[in-house]
Symmetry: C2
Subunit: 344 residues, 2 copies
C-alpha cells in the first residue's frame, strides 16, 4: 500500500483537496464548512490512515515549529556535564512536550566553529536554536557567529552573549555564597576552596569563587591563600589538613570535584562530616551517593530547561531579546556531608 496523500482523502470523501486541507489544518471554522462535511472528511482521513506530510506543510507555510539544540563532547568539566546533560535533556523533553512542539533536533557540536558549520542551523529545518555552553572560548566563537544571523538563539549556562542572543543561566555567585554561608553558620571558620583547574578559565567558576570570598568577607574571616587549592591531589589535600590551623571544611565548585575529594579523604581516613565537612555545587545525579550524601548547591535543571525553551519560543515570536534572558536561583540541598566542626 502506497502512502496516503491528501488527494486520496479528497477523492474518498468526494470533496476537493483544498477543503480537506482547510479541515485538517484547523481553519474549517474560518471557512464556514458545515459539520457534516467536516465529519465526512475526518472519517475518510482516519479510515485511510492519512498522516499529513510535515515536510510539504513546512515548505508551504515556511514554518517547522521545530527547534534545535547544540550539545556535544566538548563540555566542561566532562563528568559533570555528562550527568547534568542527562537531566537537562529530560527537562528539555518535558518542556518540548509542554509547549506542544513536535520534537527537538539535537546537533552534535562541531570541533571547529567556522562560519560554514553554522550553515547547518540555517538550512530552514529549525526555527530557533538552543546552545548549551561548553568551553568558554569555543562558546564565544560559536555564539558570535550567530550575532548577525537571522536565527533566534538562546544560550544556556552563560551570560556572555551577543546583543541578539538570549540566555538562561543560574546565579553561580549567590549559590556559592549560600553554600559557604551554610558552613559558616555551622561554626566553621577555616574553609578551603578546592577546584580541579584554575578558577579563571570559566566565568561560572570565577563567579562561584567570588561567592566563596564574599561569604568569608562578610563573616569577617580572613582568607588564607593556602586554602585555595588548584588540582585535586592527595598531597594537596593532606597539606590542608596539616596546616597549623587545619581547615575544618572544604567547598568545591562542582560535585565531581567533591567526589574526588571525598575519595581522597576516605583514603586519608578522615570521616565526613565527623572530621571535615564537604559541600559541592551542581547537585548532579547521584550526588546523594557521594560521601554518603553530599550537601550541595542544586541547579534547577527543570526550570532551566523550561525557561530555555520558553525564551526561545518567545524570541522566535518576536519578543525583544532582553525579555528572553533569565538568571535563575539555586538552592542549597543539605544532606549528610556537612556538620558543625569537631570541638577540640
Amino acid at each position: 500500500m502506497a502512502i496516503v496523500k491528501m488527494r486520496d482523502v479528497a477523492a474518498h470523501a468526494g470533496v476537493s483537496i483544498s477543503t480537506v486541507s482547510k479541515i485538517l489544518s484547523g481553519s474549517a471554522a474560518a471557512h464556514q464548512i458545515p459539520a457534516h462535511t467536516i465529519e465526512r472528511v475526518r472519517r475518510s482521513a482516519s479510515q485511510l490512515g492519512y498522516i499529513p506530510n510535515a515536510v510539504a506543510r513546512n515548505l508551504r507555510t515556511q514554518r517547522t515549529r521545530e527547534i534545535g539544540i547544540v550539545l556535544g563532547q566538548e563540555t566542561y568539566p566532562e563528568a559533570a556535564a555528562l550527568t547534568l546533560d542527562g537531566a537537562f535533556l529530560i527537562g528539555l523533553m518535558e518542556a518540548v512536550a509542554t509547549c506542544h512542539l513536535p520534537g527537538m533536533v539535537v546537533y552534535p557540536r562541531e570541533r571547529s566553529s567556522s562560519i560554514a558549520d553554522v550553515a547547518r542551523y540555517l538550512d530552514g529545518r529549525i526555527e530557533g536554536l538552543l546552545v548549551r555552553s561548553s568551553t568558554p572560548h569555543h562558546e564565544e566563537l560559536l555564539l558570535s557567529l550567530f550575532a548577525r544571523s537571522p536565527l533566534p538563539v538562546v544560550a544556556v549556562w552563560t551570560q556572555e552573549v551577543p546583543d541578539t542572543v538570549g540566555f538562561v543561566d543560574v546565579d553561580h555567585r549567590a549559590g556559592a555564597y549560600q553554600a559557604v554561608r551554610h558552613l559558616l553558620d555551622l561554626g566553621h571558620r577555616r574553609i578551603a576552596y578546592v577546584e580541579s583547574s584554575p578558577v579563571f578559565e570559566h566565568p561560572h567558576f570565577l563567579a562561584r569563587y567570588q561567592g566563596y570570598e564574599q561569604a568569608l568577607r562578610e563573616a569577617q574571616v580572613t582568607f588564607q591563600p593556602e586554602w585555595h587549592v588548584i588540582g585535586v591531589e592527595q598531597e594537596k589535600i593532606e597539606r590542608l589538613l596539616q596546616l597549623p590551623d587545619a581547615v575544618t571544611a572544604i567547598f568545591t565548585p562542582n560535585d565531581v570535584t567533591a567526589g574526588a575529594v571525598a575519595t581522597i579523604l576516605h583514603t586519608l581516613h578522615r570521616r565526613i562530616p565527623g572530621d571535615i565537612s564537604l559541600v559541592g555545587f551542581d547537585d548532579i545525579a547521584n550526588a546523594d551517593l557521594i560521601a554518603g550524601g553530599l550537601t550541595t548547591v542544586h541547579q534547577p535543571i527543570q526550570e532551566i530547561s523550561m525557561q530555555a525553551v520558553r525564551n526561545l519560543i518567545a524570541l522566535i515570536g518576536g519578543t525583544p531579546v532582553v525579555e528572553c534572558r533569565a538568571v535563575l536561583s539555586t538552592s542549597l540541598i543539605i544532606r549528610n556531608s556537612s556538620a558543625p566542626p569537631a570541638t577540640r
Copy 2:
C-alpha cells in the same frame, strides 16, 4: 536583507537555476559541467552567503537524512536511566557526526502509546526511529504499533521486538555472570543478590539474575533463598550480615542500587571491601565515586549508540532486519569495592 535563494545565485552567476542545483547538489560531474562554470557558481554562492533550504530539498527528493529517537521520563529505574541517558546521548551525537547525518530529532515519550501518537513519527520528517527501552509493558505496546508501519525502527536495550524491528542490546546474563564469577574467584562463597524491585519486572534484570545463579551453580555454591533481597532497606541488609553464615559479598544488578547499599553499609559501620565486597552493574557516570570506586559491569555505551545508529541506517538502506540486530558484550571494571573475604 532577505534570504538568499538558489535563483539569486543563478542570477548572480549568470546561469540557470538548474545549473546551480546540479553543481551545489554534487551532480556536476554527471552533467559534464566545466570547471570554470562550477568555480563561478561556487564563488557566487559563497559570496552571497547562500544556504540551500533543506525543507525544499527534502520535499523534492523525498528524503530527509534525519533520524529520530524517543526518549523520556518513563525510563526505569529512574536514576540509572538518568545517568545512562546522558552518556547514551553523547554517544549518539558522536555516531550521528560519524555517519554524517545532519542531526537527530529527539521526541519526548508520550504517556499513552496510542496509534495516534505514532503519527508524529510518520509525518515524513524522519527516515527511521530509535526507541530507547523503558518500562517493558509500555515498550512492547509502542513497538507493536510499528510492526506494520513503513518506518524503520531499531530498539535499544531490549530484544523483545516485532519481526520488522531491529535492536541493540547487551548480554545482561553474561555480564552478571562475569561479576559474580569475579567475586567467586576472590574466594567469596556467600554472595547476596540485592535489588530494589522484583527481578521479573524487566527482562534485563531477569537475565542478570540468571547470570548470578549460573555463576553460583558452576562454582558448586548452593544458593540460599535468604541471599535474594528485594527492596533496599537497612533492616534487610542488616539481616544479611547477621545470618549464621553471613554473606561476604553483595551483587546488585545496577549501580544505583549499589550506591544505596553502600550508604547503608556505611551507616552500619561496615567497610567496603574490608568487611564486605560490593559489585554493581551498568558503570554509570560517577560509579567511581560510589563506595570509593565501585567494581561494576560496564555497558559499552559508545558502541551501543554507534551500533544503534548504524543498524538504523542499514535498515533504512534496505538491509534485512536480522542483520540489523546486535547483542554486545559487557566488561568487568574492577575498582576498589571488591577484595578477598576477610579471613576469620
